[in-house]
């Protein structure tokens, strides 16, 4: 653009210079603007980076806080465990102290125990000697008492059994003899009746008359009755024999039991001799039990005797009744 005619060259040059400077300033400002823009971009990038870093840091802080909380919890738990462990250690130390004191006491007790054991050994030897003497005395006393008891029991049992057996045998023999006498009488009667029957038969054959038939029939009836009585008598005698056999069997059983008891007494006596003096009381109890068993056996024997007596009584009653019935029939 050329200079206009309305202004001077100085003004025009001044304006030109100013315009050039303005252009330069404009370029500079634009350059600055572009740089500031780039700076702004960089700042924005930095801000975004800072924001992301901040977010990452926040997340990291949250994570670390969570982990710290966790670790704090674990720490508190471990702390409680450690405190419990320390308490246990305290208790263990106390126990250790107590064990030390206890050990000292035990050492004292051991020394005392040694002294006491020596004293006890001495006293035990004395006691053993005492026990030996007591054992000897008790054994001798036991031997004597057992011998006395066995002899007394044997004597009493044998005396009682002999007496009872003799009584029974004598009673049975007496009754048997009475029965034999009765049987002989009945046999004689039978023989006489048989002879009478034979005579009557002869007379009957001779006369052939039927006038005296009624008398004969009566005589036959009497004979039949006599047969019945003899049958009953035989039955009763067989029953008595059976009862006597039973009584003899029971007596034999009793004798065998007595023999067994004697053997047991001998065994016990041997055991008594073998055992120590400490078992003396036990043996005494056994002997008391055995004596009670013996009493029971005596009672049983008495009962069996009573049973035998009742059976004999029943047999005698039956015999008496048969005799009475036969007498009534006559």
């Amino acid at each position: 653009m050329g200079r206009p005619e309305s202004i001077s060259t100085e003004v025009f040059e001044l304006y030109k210079k100013v315009i050039d400077l303005a252009d330069k300033y404009d370029k500079l400002f634009k350059n600055i603007e572009s740089k500031t823009k780039s700076f702004d971009d960089i700042v924005y990038d930095f801000e975004s980076f800072a924001r992301s870093v901040k977010d990452q840091l926040l997340s990291f802080i949250d994570k670390t806080r969570f982990e710290i909380d966790k670790s704090l919890e674990i720490y508190s738990k471990e702390k409680s465990k450690v405190s419990a462990f320390i308490d246990k250690i305290d208790t263990i130390t106390n126990l250790h102290k107590e064990t030390e004191t206890f050990r000292n006491e035990l050492n004292n007790l051991r020394s005392n125990y040694k002294q006491l054991t020596s004293q006890i050994n001495e006293s035990f030897q004395k006691f053993n000697s005492m026990l030996d003497s007591i054992n000897e005395k008790s054994n001798s006393y036991l031997n004597k008492t057992v011998e006395n008891l066995t002899s007394k029991i044997d004597q009493e049992i044998s005396a009682k059994v002999d007496r009872d057996l003799k009584n029974l045998e004598t009673q049975i023999l007496i009754r048997h003899k009475i029965l034999e006498g009765r049987v002989i009488e009945i046999n004689n009667l039978l023989i006489s009746t048989i002879t009478l029957v034979e005579q009557v038969n002869r007379m009957r054959n001779n006369t052939l008359s039927s006038n005296n038939d009624d008398d004969l029939s009566n005589q036959f009836d009497n004979i039949k009755n006599l047969d019945k009585i003899t049958q009953k008598h035989i039955n009763i005698s067989s029953e008595i024999e059976f009862k006597l056999d039973q009584i003899s069997l029971t007596v034999k059983d009793f004798e065998t039991r007595i023999v067994q008891e004697k053997k047991e007494i001998k065994k016990l006596y041997d055991e008594l001799l073998e055992k120590d003096s400490n078992d003396f009381n036990k043996l005494r109890d056994k002997i008391s039990n055995f004596s009670s068993e013996l009493e029971k056996l005596e009672r049983d024997l008495k009962k069996s005797k009573n049973v035998a007596n009742t059976s004999i009584f029943i047999a005698i009653l039956a015999i008496l009744l048969s005799i009475i019935i036969s007498a009534i029939l006559k």
Binding site: M1, P4, E5, S6, I7, S8, V11, L14, Y15, V18, Y25, D26, K27, K30, S34
Partner: protein, 101 residues
Amino acid sequence: MVNNYEDNNKKKNLIAFIKKIKQPKTFYSELAEMDLLLDYIYEYDANRFNQDEEFQDEVFKVIFENSKRIEPKLEAFLLERLIRSLSYFNEIVSEWADQNQ
């Protein structure tokens, strides 16, 4: 950036040239050719010229385009405007310089 700025300047000059060619000569331009425009304005429209800045600009523009000899009032006006704009620029730049120091 710089290329865009140059293109804009060319466009403005072109528009000014086209306006100059097409527009017919006005009464003010004829007066300016005769160096009588300022006298005419002082005589007939002095209040508006003193109060209305746009009108003042338009008058000095017509003088600048059409006058055939150096007009000292126009130069004073232009220098005044240059000082005003430079002082404004200086003021802004000084603020910026103070901020960046």
